[in-house]
Symmetry: C2
Subunit: 216 residues, 2 copies
């Protein structure tokens, strides 16, 4: 019973619009209408409305009786997200260190090797992709849906700024080194170290990101 689900148009529209907003293709203050989106995306209002209501729940837009207002991510949001990640992301690493399996460690290792490869290639998009994947895997391996659901939205919202950070070669290398240290703590099943190293890592990422944030 209860077959698994297909990717609906609602989901596709949601991800597409979320991306457009988070990457700045729709900017804070822009206005949309459902009919404009119907014309642009070629689907009916129903899946579009579904997606919009979910975006509103994430406070990326505001739906009013006269249209849709894009909110997006402010600089204060960016700082606030890092402040929360500094406090929470260590917890995810700590939990992961307790329960991580050999296979999960191998998956993480694979991610790190790919990250190293792309750092060598100086390919920011791919570096960012692997960087994201590393963190997502740790959320997942923490074994806590709550941690996952709390951190994923925060992480998604700053992907644009994280891409900018790893575009700078030195930071990309540092980040990789820090990831490897976290990986080592996880493979040692050392929760305290994993926690500490992850906090340090996020703190450094924040310092770097907020410092060069103006260049965006």
């Amino acid at each position: 019973m209860f077959e698994h689900k297909t990717i609906s148009l609602s989901d596709q529209v949601f991800e597409r619009l979320e991306d457009e907003i988070l990457w700045g293709n729709y900017q804070r203050g822009d206005t949309l209408t459902e009919m404009k989106l119907v014309a642009d995306l070629g689907v009916s209002r129903t899946p579009i409305r579904d997606a919009l209501h979910r975006l509103e729940q994430e406070r990326l837009i505001e739906i009013t009786p006269r249209g849709i207002l894009v909110l997006g991510i402010t600089k204060k949001d960016l700082a606030d997200i890092y402040a929360i990640r500094i406090r929470v992301e260590g917890l995810a690493a700590r939990e992961a260190a307790k329960y991580i399996t050999e296979q999960q460690l191998n998956e993480l290792k694979e991610t790190l090797d790919l990250q190293e490869f792309y750092v060598g290639k100086q390919n920011p998009d791919s570096i960012k992709g692997m960087d994201s994947q590393f963190h997502r895997q740790i959320y997942q391996f923490s074994g806590s849906n709550i941690l996952y659901d709390t951190l994923i939205p925060l992480h998604k919202k700053i992907q644009r700024y994280r891409r900018a950070a790893v575009s700078v070669s030195e930071r990309a290398k540092e980040s990789l080194t820090e990831h490897r240290a976290i990986y080592e703590a996880l493979s040692r099943h050392d929760p305290a170290d994993a926690d500490r190293l992850m906090i340090e890592h996020v703190r450094k990422a924040r310092d770097y990101t907020l410092e060069q944030e103006d260049r965006l």
Copy 2:
């Protein structure tokens, strides 16, 4: 432009179903269908579907091609939520201590006085209401939408257990005392103290809640 919004049927259905799930009227493993909800709630499928998709985003249900599965909150979720609140809620108090205004302090005071009144009356529902309001006000006075949006869902999800905790007179009194201490730190604009006291408060709440959790 952009008048403010009315409370739609979608919103009403969302809140109602969220409540039913969080209070255990629908339990983990229960199955629903849209048509059953249409019959029960007397509105059409459209607002119901809207609400269901938002509930799915909060991982309270799972929508499949053959029906709706209620997930609700597990005991692990409860522990995980407290672990996160212990790390984050102090941050909200810290930020609030920096920026809180006289009027906001008065609103908090009013909440505390009501809480005291209901503690005297031994009215668990009202105590829980004021307890929730105190925390919500601090999220709000932190001035961070991100903190607010992060903490509110977590807070809502454990309201049932928090009500159980304040049903015990001693814990209700302790909680009030701790709230007053936090209030004092806020009125002194002492971020470090507000942070520390809030962490202690949430930690005690967790210890008490997890300890007596089995009696539910």
